[in-house]
């Protein structure tokens, strides 16, 4: 997104009543995710700001530790460190193959938490190696760690060690995901209520000129990145799904767009007129989701759409 757009979001988020702003990383393109997070924290006072997500596979762990510490300071505790292994498509494009992603993510989160406590860490796994590394700081307040994940083992990991999950997928999947997380939390002796569940679906306000083609592109990415096991749970045209995934793997997200039909759009995105969209947000919230994310893709008069949506949500709460 261009600076003009991200600045507008930051400047208006508090007044709109947004609880959080979530910032994704487009690896190698667009604004630097950490500087964008810093500037967004600077321009807001109440809103929480989180990365969603910064992959552990593409940054040195010391960079993640230092960036998160800096953002925690800048935001005076309003920063959430959202991380994950990274999207399948992105990792394939970069030639990165993680053999044991759950272990890699677990070890990284545990190492980061120790670093933020002011400890000196010696540990290693597939994605990092630390030899007596520490930030030499006084122990800081816990920085919340949310995991952007999809598969069952990753969902269970959230229940075990994370403060929240960033989820995307159809409603059936979201219900399944929240159940997996809660169940895993109970087994780990944690209260499921302590773990936030953020749902981030492509949103296209067609009532304000939103471009469906861009939304289809985002849906193509979500479907391409969805683990096979999860897709197997859904009542979708399997053949179509596989052709989409094959096309995206070979030629990128745009190649998957022709395979995204209305059924997939309804399943993987929130779209339509104002009232329908807010009805869908409420439906998602009823699945045990604690926060629903609006956007991207940001097309048409998206600023107007955002304002109308927040206004409608406020009206329904009164």
């Amino acid at each position: 997104m261009k600076v003009k757009a991200t600045k507008w979001i930051a400047e208006n988020a508090d007044a709109l009543g947004a609880h959080s702003i979530w910032i994704g990383e487009d690896i190698g393109i667009g604004q630097d995710v950490f500087i964008l997070s810093a500037s967004t924290l600077r321009m807001t006072e109440r809103c929480r700001v989180g990365t969603a997500i910064v992959p552990v596979s593409t940054h040195n762990i010391a960079t993640l530790a230092r960036a998160a510490l800096s953002l925690c300071d800048i935001g005076r505790g309003r920063f959430v460190f959202g991380t994950g292994i990274g999207g399948i498509q992105d990792l394939q494009r970069l030639g990165i193959a993680i053999k044991r992603p759950v272990t890699a993510l677990r070890e990284t989160v545990l190492a980061l938490r120790n670093i933020w406590k002011g400890k000196t860490v010696s540990a290693e796994c597939e994605v990092f190696k630390l030899n007596g590394f520490g930030l030499h700081i006084d122990a800081v307040k816990d920085i919340p760690v949310f995991l952007g994940v999809r598969g069952p083992q990753m969902l269970r990991l959230v229940g075990q060690i994370a403060d929240g999950a960033i989820l995307s997928g159809p409603l059936d999947y979201l219900k399944y995901a929240t159940n997996e997380i809660d169940s895993s939390a109970r087994i780990a002796g944690r209260d499921p209520e302590d773990i936030e569940k953020i749902a981030w679906l492509p949103t296209i306000p067609t009532f304000k000129g939103g471009k469906e083609s861009l939304a289809k592109r985002v849906v193509a990415i979500v479907v391409a990145d969805m683990p096979e096991k999860i897709l197997g749970m859904l009542s979708v045209d399997e053949g179509r799904i596989h052709r989409l995934r094959d096309a995206v793997a070979r030629k990128g997200p745009d190649a998957g767009v022709p395979f995204v039909n209305d059924e997939m759009m309804d399943m993987f995105a929130i779209t339509g007129d104002l009232l329908h969209m807010v009805d869908m947000f409420e439906k998602v919230a009823a699945l045990g989701i604690t926060e629903v994310v609006l956007g991207p893709p940001f097309t048409g008069d998206w600023r107007g759409a955002v304002q109308d949506i927040f206004k409608e949500i406020r009206l329904r709460r009164e």
Partner: protein, 309 residues
Amino acid sequence: MIIRWGVAINVHEKLDDTIRIAKKLDAVGIDRLWVVDFPSPRFAPAVADVVASCTEAKIGIGLLSAILYDAETIGGFIETLSDYHGNRFDVLIGPGDQSALRSIGQETWIPKEVVETTLGTTVRVRNLLQEKGIEGHVWLGAQGPRMIDASREAHGVLLNYSDPMMIEWALKQIRERDGTHQTGVFFPSYIVSELADEPPNEFLYAAAIVALGAPSKIIKDMALWGISEARGAYNRKGKLNSAVIQAFGTCSLLRWGVFTTAEGVIEYANNLDKIGIDEIVFGPPISQFENSLENLMAAFKKSKKARNQ
């Protein structure tokens, strides 16, 4: 020519202190604030965003290690910062601190490859910024002759030396400089009220780090054999500790940083101006000691007044 003054911030201070110091330096009109990166605990690009939002000074980011960040990432930092705050940013690239990088998994250190990677990244960042129409300068941080000479591929070189004789040695390593190539110096610094004061341990350690990084060519060319024992002690211990500091000796370490009074630093700056240095950057531990910073600011204000007359 009027030599520019810069100060390194975000070394180990808390963020609030970094901001406070940046504003103070900005208020006296310092030419550039250099926001330091790894092994500082705080991430320079994010800190630079906040510093830029509350100051008007030019800002340098770095030293950014070419071993830690690739060219596209570094270019992305400068581009994003420039999008938010305008064309105010320069970047300093170098290999980085070898032992600090070892602690985060960068264990292989083949000097030839390190130099090639650093130079490659520097040139690529320069080209990326040029393609995007960003005016920021790309500086190469250097101590060794090959890197110093190769800085002709960058907009300039920041030499990790403070002793004028060593600086003149370094300048001779650059073949065929063109008129646009900038030279600067970056060194540990501590400015005192009286020379009778003892340098703090933080200064001695910072100076020792610089001395330990000195290339064998300068040791040979300038007969700096006195530091051989200390370098040997460091190699045996594998870490910098009080025994290594003692092996150096305070007198020896004073050649690897600037420890002087406000009047002394004005004279020092004027001398460097005469030998063709464009920018002096006062490095750690100065930003960690309020009195030292005040002394430096007093010196800068006096120097600025003289330059405006």
